[in-house]
Homo-oligomer: 335 residues x 2
């Protein structure tokens, strides 16, 4: 397969980018770690945990509240709302296809879906549980969870580690194949409109696909700096640089403003945009990215073409059956 | 079929209540008003609206947030949490089998599911939309809803009236048949344990089934006074009388402390109990009801038997497919 720099050279030679083999369709199966091989029982348990608001202090916020699989895998809000109406500074990334990321969270601070799943549950402004000990105690007090954990992991299995493994196993099923783009790449040249093909070529020509590369259009979640260049106008409007990204975690100056590249898959469904959700529309997002990352100012028609192509990255959402959450007969675990 | 007062006479004559014909299985279809005959398209639209948090000001609260079909049809909280973490004074009733109620809300102030559905959306502490005009404008700005309303109701159909009709049509599908009790009433005498049959008989003997009557165990949502008698101990603990029920709406002294009788169907799944959610467990709820409504103090074993029977009223929850909510490509309707 052509590497992106080879592709760029090809482009400079005047080749049609849209038919180059570097464009990849989305795999229908996500990679999984050797210590968390999937099973039907794990996925079943994980889907329950993912949708259970009793994993939050108030009983009102589940993973699905901010990463809503019915709504593009996130919440369409600038930033998410956790327990007691609290909000943070970042916009919820989509859960769909997150299984293809090498790292998780906007700042990439989690090395796996398992690590990621552990975070929000005890974050005071997200799900607000005091500790995972409290979470595990609550889960153990729900008979149906004892049964489901045993099925998935064996006896005495209600632990933080297994809960996050089950959630991750479920998330690995959340893949959206067969977008118009995937069909096009698979050989159906009628799957994209002429405008969408123009947008596709333009993205490669501008250099968008240098970072938004590969099947998930994010280098599988590689790190890149944003913004690369400072622009007073956009900074005054959107305050992109206020949040230092990876450096907020590592405290290293070299990591300032480094972020996991977000996927462009289903990007049309995940407005508003950027780490702080400060950009309302996709065309404005494209305009800002071109300027700040590539020093380019595409014409209005070119931006429209690119947005048309980005709409072709909306995949098919596999139908899901709602889980029935394990009950607590005659009592509740929420105070 | 024997009426309840006939049944009570039969009981006094020493008949076995549990085999009397007044015990009714749950119908598998709910009644519907002539001006809102159901259709697949209405139910499909209604399920989307029911699960769409964009019907709230913050984009975080849907009907399903407080009436969660995955969790017994409510939220297991003493009182529900609306937009921005606000709470009110009442506990969310279950949506399951609500289609059989003649009136809706704890105080019965809505005459139909259609009327009920209109309320929370614009309640400032629930879903917080400024007005239904605002809701309709938001729905009209989502292309997929225009299509879904047209399928269900014809052209130019995005209105408050049709939105609430669709939600009601969906809610009329939320029926939980085939509980152990239903099987028993249907002729399977092994479906209940001996203890559950004792509890069933005891409920009729005490008089519980005078109000908790019929297939839904609530006289289809008739009005009754609660508490009938005042008890300083329970009042100090639970403040039942603070909320005047129907009179809060009608302002008539005669309506003070009148409430729609809540269903006992799936009651084991809907703790905590009473209009203010102040009673944590089902056995305590039975004890309080016996004392305040009937002047009775059943023995501990009798309460345990009744609770065992109430657990037999948990029905089968039909599997539901999660709706995909209509997207807003490249933008959001949430500020």
């Amino acid at each position: 397969m052509l590497k992106m720099h080879t592709l760029m050279s090809a482009m400079l030679l005047g080749c049609s980018i849209s038919v180059a083999s570097a464009w990849e369709a989305l795999p229908t199966k996500a990679p999984e770690p050797t210590n968390n091989v999937s099973s039907v029982d794990k996925v079943t348990l994980g889907q329950m945990l993912y949708h259970d608001p009793r994993l939050s202090s108030t009983g009102t916020v589940s993973c699905a509240s901010c990463h809503d699989t019915m709504l593009g895998g996130e919440d369409n809000r600038p930033n998410s709302m956790g327990v007691n109406g609290q909000t943070g500074g970042r916009s919820a990334p989509t859960v769909w296809n997150s299984a293809f990321n090498k790292v998780q969270f906007w700042d990439g601070r989690a090395a796996s879906l398992e690590d990621q799943a552990a975070g929000p549950v005890t974050n005071p402004i997200e799900m607000g549980m005091k500790s995972w000990d409290e979470v595990v105690a609550r889960l153990k007090s729900i008979e149906g969870y004892n049964v489901a954990f045993e099925k998935a992991f064996g006896s005495n299995a209600v632990t933080k580690e297994n809960a996050t493994k089950a959630i991750a196993a479920y998330e690995r099923t959340l893949i959206t194949p067969n977008s118009a783009y995937d069909k096009f790449v698979g050989g159906d040249k009628t799957a994209l409109t002429e405008q969408q093909v123009r947008g596709m070529d333009k993205m490669a020509e501008l250099g968008c696909t240098t970072c938004h590369s590969g099947a998930t259009f994010n280098g599988e979640g590689s790190f890149q700096k944003f913004p690369v260049t400072t622009n007073g106008f956009f900074e005054a409007q959107h305050h992109f640089s206020k949040d230092k990204g990876l450096a907020e975690v590592t405290k290293k100056p070299a990591d300032e403003h480094f972020w996991k590249v977000p996927t462009l898959r289903n990007i049309a469904l995940t407005a508003p945009y950027f780490h702080n959700g400060s950009v309302a529309t996709l065309d404005q997002a494209v305009k800002i990215m071109a300027k700040l990352q590539l020093g380019q100012e595409p014409a209005a028609q070119e931006i429209t073409d690119i947005v048309a192509f980005l709409n072709a990255l909306t995949g098919e959402f596999p139908k899901q059956t709602m889980p029935t959450l394990p009950p607590t007969e005659g009592r509740t675990v929420i105070k």
